[in-house]
């Protein structure tokens, strides 16, 4: 079916560009490999948990940085968690911002931390929208009766 083939091509192109632009790394591919007929929604489930978690963490970070006396240990702990979960799903750009953020925490550099939080929000929103687009493509392929291409 031409429609399925076109959707599959789109999917491959989109996934490839996400990897090339560094939004996703190999860990995302690893997660896709863990998905099969017995667990067809595994990636979506993990990523949904990630979205929920991330939004909580971003709120916690904003609150922590607004305190009169900032507890940098607490801030670092949130960032560490965010870095971990981002690495676990392959959200490479988000994880990279976390690394810089942790450095500013160590230096107790408030301005640096605030800037990083902004960057973190931006990168998170970007990767979230791209993953949502990817999942929509997958749904379209499945609904058109096709198979989602295995990457790599």
């Amino acid at each position: 079916m031409a429609a399925v083939a076109q959707l599959q091509r789109q999917f491959i192109e989109y996934t490839t560009s996400l990897h090339n632009e560094g939004y996703l790394d190999d860990q995302f591919t690893q997660l896709q490999k863990l998905q099969d007929e017995s667990n067809p929604d595994f990636v979506v489930e993990v990523v949904s948990l990630y979205f929920e978690d991330s939004e909580k963490l971003l709120n916690n970070l904003a609150t922590a940085l607004q305190q009169k006396i900032v507890d940098y240990k607490q801030v670092d702990s949130h960032v560490h968690q965010f870095k971990g979960s981002s690495s676990s799903i392959g959200a490479q750009r988000v994880a990279t911002v976390c690394v810089h953020f942790r450095n500013f925490c160590e230096e107790k550099n408030l301005e640096g931390c605030v800037r990083c939080l902004q960057q973190l929000k931006q990168e998170y929103i970007l990767v979230r929208s791209k993953l949502e687009a990817l999942f929509r493509l997958e749904q379209q392929i499945v609904q058109a009766g096709g198979q989602i291409p295995m990457m790599e």
Binding site: Q27, Q30, L34, V46, Y50, D53, K83, S88
Partner: protein
């Protein structure tokens, strides 16, 4: 008890018991991923979110209850290092200091590639130290290692494998002093 039919990397499900892994991680995302990795590798999996829950499960807090322990029969514990409350390292120490639990291999998972941390864990008796995010190949390798020690009965601590990033300098290791069994 050892009628497991193992040849190299294969295990025939029909005449072998599934190995039971207790996975410990405070991150819900990581718990989901490690559970899937382990299940795909044909482990039976129990997942908990803290060191204290792990100890509860292992019956440490009810040491007198030996029949309770037999039902659980955990063959491997895999735990995150950085957890609030009890760290993975503290959990490792408690397990290795327990007469009933010390023979269970413990693997540490961590996102941090810190050599002193790795050394400390191995010295405390960890079977292996895996860098997060953990891959399927790590779990497969682990399974082979655990299977070998289960069937041949060799002191598993003699076959400790260290996972490090390949571009790290290799530091000379002190001779392992793993006479714990």
């Amino acid at each position: 008890m050892d009628t497991m039919n193992v040849c190299c990397n294969q295990i025939t499900p029909s005449n072998s018991k599934e190995l039971h892994v207790l996975a410990v991680d405070d991150s819900n995302i990581d718990r989901k991923v490690i559970e899937r990795l382990l299940k795909i590798s044909s482990f039976k999996v129990t997942v908990v979110d803290s060191g204290s829950r792990a100890l509860q499960y292992l019956g440490l807090e009810q040491e007198s209850n030996s029949t309770h322990f037999d039902d659980l029969k955990v063959n491997l514990i895999i735990t995150d290092y950085s957890m609030p409350g009890m760290t993975g390292f503290e959990l490792l120490k408690k397990i290795k200091n327990s007469s009933t639990l010390k023979q269970i291999p413990v693997v540490i998972m961590s996102s941090e590639n810190i050599l002193t941390r790795i050394d400390r864990c191995l010295e405390e008796g960890a079977e292996d130290y895996l860098l997060k995010p953990v891959k399927l190949s790590d779990v497969t390798r682990l399974k082979d290692s655990i299977l070998k020690t289960e069937t041949t009965g060799i002191d598993q601590l003699q076959s400790c494998r260290i996972k490090r990033k390949r571009n790290d300098d290799w530091l000379p290791q002190p001779a392992p002093k793993f006479a714990r069994l």
